[in-house]
Amino acid sequence: MKRSERMMARLTGRRGERVLAGAALAGLAASAGLSLLVAPPDATQGEVQRLMYVHVPAAWLAYLSFTSVFVASVAYLVTSRTRWDRLAAASAEVGVLFCALTIVLGALWGRPVWGTWWTWDPRLTTTAVLLLVYLGYLALRQMADSPGRRARWSAVLGVVGFVDVPIVHMSVVWWRSLHQAPTVLRPGAPTIAGSMLAALLVAVAAFTLAWAYLITVRLRVGRLEERAATQALSARTGGRPSDGQLPPVVGVQGRAAPDA
């Protein structure tokens, strides 16, 4: 086993999971304290601007998740190793959670600030498209009839669907938008007060730890579900591979089983 694989195994082991859970909980508690009690209210938006400390991390984690889907999908297409397919599936599911959360939090922010829950603004529309693309990705994973085909089709969608991520980020620059322009991830210095930036960075770090924990748990659930599916198939075929459609988890050296 390679050194990187050993490190990954340690991180995704039960103990690593517990450490991540503790760190994420402590980080989220610290972030809530900083965001709600320490950071000052915004000069024009007032208290409602505190939603930024959850809305921005949620959006960042949606980007991170879909980037992870993209990288894992490319890696799967190159290597055919099922671990990449499992990582792509886990990242897509967690990404959909954070993308939906971003939209809900944005609507809660938009109502008092813009006077509306939703508008067909470029940023909002491209984010809604992003959510639909990855909901489609998860639906596709349920539809494919063989594990090898499922992994390959979803890897292709994981690569193509990623095109929308930079479009979402640049939408406020490319088109006239009601949504504010980037204040941190932009050329030049951030246009945000220092105390607010500190609270935001702590929130981003804490949510990223929570994301890592969720991915770790989701990967374990994926392994358990694959094992259960393998046992069910094995029981149906009397322990013999009948049609070459074994789940990828039993493929040789972690490679996906061939399609029928």
Partner: protein, 46 residues
């Protein structure tokens, strides 16, 4: 002050989404372990 309602709703929605998803994952893990145990007659590994 009414703005605080939106802030509270946002933070509660975030906590509910993360906590709810985690609970759902634990439920899926439990069901998968039970299925494996029923098929093999022994508890699944972690």
């Amino acid at each position: 002050m009414p703005d605080l309602g939106y802030v509270a709703a946002g933070y509660l929605a975030t906590a509910a989404a993360l906590g709810g998803y985690l609970l759902w994952l634990h439920g899926r893990a439990r069901r998968a372990r039970r299925r494996t145990a029923a098929l093999t007659g022994r508890p699944a590994r972690r």
